[in-house]
């Protein structure tokens, strides 16, 4: 097939659980790659995305790098999709939002049990943490949402096959869940 649909994926402040669930489409992946090629994604290790049709974003934004990656995806993807609870509402990482950032860092790197050589990491290579974890629709425009923690493999399959077949994507009741 000459012009395959180009798909990019990334995990921001996520756990890669959504990516694992995507891979749970199992042998249907072989059908999918007849129509789809992967651009930037943990699946390909391509570092930057260029001219993609669909961008799948797992996770919310918790640091400056997440924001840069998210904007790169928005600038390069015709359709941008929030995948999973964290992308949609911040998810479990956002449960740190009511704890001051300094307290979080102290707990992890200074006061935590078993911490040796206590110091808060501050290397120029490390992205700065945002004071709060935010869902991605607060940063860029999002075209579609796939709820779930994670969305099931069938959600990915239904959504992508709807798009590939030229239908407006829709999820039936059985595929909509927030957990």
């Amino acid at each position: 097939m000459a012009n395959k649909i180009r798909v990019a994926t990334t995990s921001l402040a996520g756990c890669f659980g959504c990516h694992m669930s995507f891979l749970d489409i199992d042998e249907r992946m072989l059908q999918l790659v007849e129509h789809v090629e992967f651009d930037r994604s943990p699946i390909t290790d391509i570092e930057h995305c260029t001219n993609c049709d669909i961008g799948l974003i797992e996770g919310g934004v918790c640091n400056s790098e997440n924001v840069h990656v998210l904007r790169e995806f928005r600038n390069n993807c015709k359709i941008l999709v929030a995948v999973g609870a964290c992308a949609i509402n911040g998810g479990l990482p956002a449960m740190r939002n009511h704890i001051p950032l300094e307290e979080c860092l102290n707990e992890a790197y200074i006061d935590g049990i078993g911490v040796e050589n206590a110091q808060i990491p501050s290397d120029i290579e490390l992205p700065l943490l945002l004071d709060k974890v935010r869902p991605i629709h607060e940063v860029v425009k999002i075209d579609y949402y796939l709820p779930g923690c994670p969305p099931s493999a069938d959600v990915f399959w239904k959504f992508l096959t709807d798009l590939i077949d030229g239908r407006e994507p829709s999820l039936p009741y059985e595929l909509v869940h927030y957990d």
Binding site: A94, M95, H98, P135, D179
Partner: protein, 239 residues
């Protein structure tokens, strides 16, 4: 001949004293709602049951049925409004379903599923709210309270107590308990009180009962909230 109204063109009989919600439920017509339960005085606060009655928006749970009313409920405009109201309920609190014991059995979630709500649309508030785990058998997670007052009404009207109340206005509104200390353990709430079981979200939970039903067998896993709600109504009337 009995008096009738129409809901979305369907003729619905009613008796004097019934609200539009009462008449609809009795006739197997579901109007989404969260703060309403037939056994308690209607409160009309969640606004999910907003319907158009002769061209004006009214809460179906509080508005009396009257002869000849033309009620619209399942219009695109009202369904969109209900979705927006539900999204607001989600962003105003901290509703992290994956870590909530009520998930799968939660009416807020059930309504959102029913409305095919896939996103939050609005910016999230992430309000700072406390958890009161002081009571040996019941806990309050204020992060999930939607101020429906069902616990307030259940405590007063069924349990004959006065354990809960809503305090403050607007964005400062919050659930309080009837104790000098402000803690649930110092109230006369008993684990068997109706007020401890009536919460439509995961705000009031019975301790040590979470996650007992596996995923796939929970209330809203396969059944939509309209079926569940109408089935419960039939059960209440011994049908």
């Amino acid at each position: 001949m009995s008096k009738t109204i129409t809901i979305d063109g369907k003729t619905i009989p009613f008796e004097d004293g019934q609200t539009i919600m009462d008449a609809a439920m009795a006739a197997d017509v579901y109007i989404p709602h969260l703060c309403h339960q037939p056994e308690y005085t209607p409160h009309g606060s969640c606004k999910l049951c907003t319907v158009k009655v002769n061209g004006r928006n009214c809460s179906a749970c509080t508005f009396p049925a009257m002869e000849g009313q033309e009620v619209l409920s399942e219009t695109k405009e009202l369904i969109d409004d209900r979705k927006k109201v539900t999204q607001m309920l989600f962003v105003e609190g901290n509703h992290f379903c994956p870590s909530c014991e009520k998930t799968g059995n939660c009416q807020l979630q059930g309504v959102a599923y029913h409305l095919n709500m896939l996103d939050n649309h609005f910016p999230l508030f992430y309000p700072d709210r406390a958890v009161d785990a002081s009571h040996p058998e019941v806990m309050i997670d204020h992060n999930r309270c939607i101020f429906c007052t069902l616990c307030v009404r259940a405590s007063q009207q069924t349990d004959g107590k006065d354990v809960f109340a809503i305090s403050g206005r607007g964005i400062n509104k919050h659930l309080i308990v009837n104790a000098q200390s402000g803690l649930l353990k110092d109230t006369d709430l008993d684990v068997n009180d109706q007020a401890a079981h009536v919460c439509p979200t995961g705000a009031i939970l019975i301790k040590r009962t979470g996650y007992q039903v596996p995923i796939g067998e929970r209330i809203y896993d396969h059944q939509q909230i309209d079926q569940v709600s109408l089935a419960k109504e039939h059960l209440n009337h011994g049908e």
